[in-house]
């Protein structure tokens, strides 16, 4: 793909922000009238957020806490790590541009695909995030004369679809791309059809996954297996009283821990990039060389479609000039900063010394005097009362046992990239697999993870996510918590503890989560 062709690069984030703001403003008004007074006061102490009518209506029925809703204001994500050298910054910025490129068939798109750009799926609240408020799959699918499956809607999450079983009953589990290039002006004579999603839905054979945010993943990549294993073992005693165990997914090649993806099925960011480029966009590459669709009429390009340039590209980074796309995707993820919690102080410069450096911390949520911020919502977010309830929420989050799996902090090993070396960061995950029970089960095995196991979802940045859980089934944090409990789940006791809390303490947890 030519690096100088950004004519169609995504302006989706801007568009989404405008539409989202309009949607949520109206929702906020409804929320204020629907929520019970007892919870209104607690929710009002939340960080800069915008509530939703649905969340408030649910709370009204149950007299429970209210999800404060999507935190607005500065996304606090999408930039490079603090402490990058000038050369690394140039490399990151070029990688970020490539991450936003929109590809056509000539660049390798299809024959089957879910979307035409990485940043289409990974865009909320900034490039590299997760599913935006307005699903771009609807427009892209229609552009190619595809039928939009019933589970893809304008205001729903970006989704990939997997079939649980093949027709003969054997396990499938693979991604079945939503769209085909058939009918596009650049698709030549390719004549293939979309999967019959309606029939598979009728068979109850389709599960969904939404995009995982990619912010800060270089930090995750640089945590040693020994640190992860020690972290899992360190609170084994506490977990024993909570019904929790957990284990790691591991690479079938070398036995080391795998960390990326909803089931921690991917070993590295490079593999993650190569697989997604092929599976989500249909672009063959030097990691995943082969087309997944073998119809001869649709083999329109030589493979791999993404290759290492033999002549220098013209970019602002000499280091990027000879890199293929998947390497740059991985670089974007690796060098991107962790999401900043609300009111976080700037991260200090990274240190290559043995001592650990702490990146933006949830501890650093500080009250900001009214009027020092340009928006009223941001000022309200940082009010002393908001800080109090967020602090209480953080404490209760640990007391009831959420933090047994959503482990607050990890420290990276010594890295050849100084900005990643010996850094303590706060992903709120142990990156282990846990049995989440029948309620969340998707019946898909990946690596060592079975159909009920999922990696502990990192909660950093959760305050600015719209859709929750692996399939984006809810926009309501409280509902997402409740969905953790079902027959067979390791989280049943913790959810029981959560439900025994006072409304104020449950509200404090939701406010804390929306501050992340």
């Amino acid at each position: 793909m030519a690096r100088d062709d950004f004519a169609r690069a995504y302006s989706l984030t801007t568009l989404s922000t405008i539409l989202l703001s309009a949607t949520l403003l109206s929702s906020a008004t409804l929320a204020q009238t629907a929520a019970p007074s007892a919870t209104q006061s607690a929710a009002a102490a939340a960080p800069a957020t915008t509530g939703t009518a649905a969340n408030a209506a649910t709370a009204s029925r149950s007299r429970g806490p209210v999800d404060p809703g999507l935190r607005t204001g500065d996304p606090g994500a999408g930039d490079g790590l603090t402490g990058l050298t000038d050369t690394e910054k140039q490399y990151f910025e070029v990688a970020k541009d490539v991450f936003q490129e929109v590809d056509g068939v000539a660049e390798g798109l299809g024959p089957r695909f879910n979307l035409d750009a990485c940043a289409g799926c990974h865009s909320q609240p900034a490039v590299g995030g997760t599913s935006p408020a307005i699903n771009p799959q609807v427009r892209v699918g229609k552009d190619a004369n595809n039928v939009i499956p019933s589970f893809i809607t304008e205001d729903g999450p970006v989704r990939e679809a997997r079939f649980v079983r093949n027709r003969d009953g054997s396990p499938d589990g693979g991604v079945h791309a939503l769209f085909v290039i058939t009918g596009r002006a650049d698709a030549g004579t390719c004549k293939i059809t979309q999967p019959n999603f309606a029939a598979e839905l009728a068979r109850n054979n389709v599960i969904f996954r939404i995009p995982t945010p990619v912010f800060g993943l270089g930090l995750v990549e640089n945590v040693s297996d020994g640190t992860l294993e020690a972290t899992l073992a360190a609170n084994a005693g506490q977990k024993r009283a909570l019904g929790i165990s957990g284990r790691f997914n591991r690479s079938g090649n070398d036995g080391t821990i795998t960390k990326f993806g909803w089931k921690a099925q991917n070993k590295s960011l490079l593999i993650f990039s190569g697989e997604a480029y092929n599976v989500e966009m249909g672009i063959t590459n030097e990691m995943f060389m082969n087309e997944r669709e073998n119809d001869p009429s649709c083999q329109l390009n030589a493979i791999p479609e993404d290759t290492t340039p033999m002549e220098a590209e013209d970019t602002a980074s000499p280091a990027a000039n000879y890199q293929n796309d998947i390497t740059l995707f991985a670089a974007f993820m690796r060098l991107s900063a962790a999401p900043k919690p609300a009111g976080a102080t700037p991260a200090p410069a990274a240190q290559a010394a043995a001592s650990s450096t702490v990146v933006a911390s949830a501890d650093s949520v500080l009250p900001v005097a009214a009027g020092t911020n340009s928006t009223s919502t941001a000022a309200a977010a940082a009010s002393p009362s908001a800080t109090a309830t967020v602090d209480r929420g953080r404490q209760v989050f640990g007391n009831v046992g959420c933090a047994a799996c959503h482990v607050r902090s990890l420290t990276t090993a010594k890295s050849s990239t100084a900005a990643l070396s010996n850094i303590t960061f706060e992903p709120f995950s142990d990156f282990a697999l846990h049995d989440m029970g029948q309620g969340l089960a998707d019946g898909v095995s990946q690596g060592g993870a079975n159909g009920r196991e999922f990696r502990t979802a990192p909660l950093w940045g959760v305050g600015q996510r719209i859709f929750f859980l692996h399939d984006g089934r809810t926009k309501d944090l409280n509902e997402a918590i409740q969905q953790h409990a079902s027959r067979g789940s390791e989280a049943n006791t913790v959810v029981g503890n959560f439900n025994m809390l006072s409304v104020d303490d449950r509200q404090a947890i939701l406010n804390f989560l929306r501050s992340l």
Partner: protein, 295 residues
């Protein structure tokens, strides 16, 4: 690609509970109470208002107005079991979690009832906002040696009571909004009893650490395990007094691996175990680690 199977033998220190531990070559950890011929730890259930677990020889009459909670996960790869959750009918104001951890596979280097309770106390004390309300204390509940620790945080009051049965740490975690409710739940544990219910009791075999070693193995059949993925599989075996396998319990494995391991292990033969010079059935554990030689 070549697949190899590596047998690892559990190596944990000797624990003597209840004063009935003896030594015989390998370490004999405890002589159990009673058991029916075949039962596994997860086989307990609630019936007629009583939780019964024949493996652990436990019965626990539920407090009045209580019932089963949502079932927990399958046994873990470290031998941790959520045996039963119990909740009051109606409003959720308290919970009881009955769990067990196989001490052969525990993460602690020197597991024992006291060590594990101290480890738990330390972990809880590190949680912001959590207070230790009663330090770990040894006590006897319904004739069983137990350790108790009380702690609280966020308006939830909790007691952990732990005992050792058949080389498992069996725990009762009681959680309540009100201290008075918690106290009544603790008292309810005085109704713990044997699961035998008047039937003829069968002595549980003593659990013996480190019995699966080459010196004790007479015949070993390698399991046909395909698609190795660096998975560790914990297994408990009951070895008969004649050295033949009487029971295989693959604690956590995929269905295909479970079947392969069960098939192979049932054919293993050991030197006849002896304790105090007398032939006896024993229960022991082993950890299979399958690995792939990639090159």
């Amino acid at each position: 690609m070549r697949s190899t199977l590596i047998l690892s033998v559990c190596c944990v220190a000797c624990i003597v509970a209840g004063g009935v531990g003896v030594r015989y070559g390998a370490e004999v950890l405890s002589l159990g109470a009673v058991m029916p011929a075949v039962a596994d730890p997860q086989d307990g259930s609630v019936a007629d208002g009583v939780y019964r677990n024949t493996y652990f020889d436990l019965s626990y009459p539920l407090p009045a107005g209580w019932t089963e909670g949502v079932a927990g996960p399958d046994p873990s790869a470290t031998g941790y079991y959520v045996l039963q959750s119990l909740v009051p009918k109606g409003e959720l104001s308290a919970t009881i979690l009955i769990a067990a951890e196989d001490m052969f596979f525990a993460s602690e280097q020197s597991p024992s009832l006291a060590v594990m309770t101290d480890t738990f106390r330390h972990a809880i004390s590190q949680v912001d906002g959590m207070s230790i309300d009663a330090e770990p204390t040894a006590l006897e509940v319904a004739g069983r040696a137990m350790q108790r620790i009380d702690f609280s945080g966020a308006g939830l009051h909790r007691s952990l009571l732990a005992t050792e049965i058949r080389c498992h740490l069996v725990t009762f975690t009681l959680t309540a909004r009100e201290p008075e409710t918690l106290a009544s739940l603790r008292l309810s544990l005085n109704r713990l009893a044997t699961a035998a219910q008047g039937r003829a009791a069968v002595s549980a075999p003593p659990c013996v650490r480190d019995y699966v070693v080459a010196d004790n193995l007479v015949e070993r059949i390698e399991p046909d395990v395909a698609g190795a993925t660096f998975e560790s599989i914990p297994v408990r075996l009951v070895v008969g007094a004649d050295g033949a396998i009487k029971h295989v319990h693959v604690i956590r494995a995929s269905p295909s691996r479970r079947k392969a391991l069960e098939t192979a292990l049932r054919q293993w033969r050991f030197k006849p175990p002896r304790i105090d010079g007398r032939p006896t059935d024993i229960e022991t554990g082993l950890l299979f680690k399958s690995a792939v030689a990639a090159r």
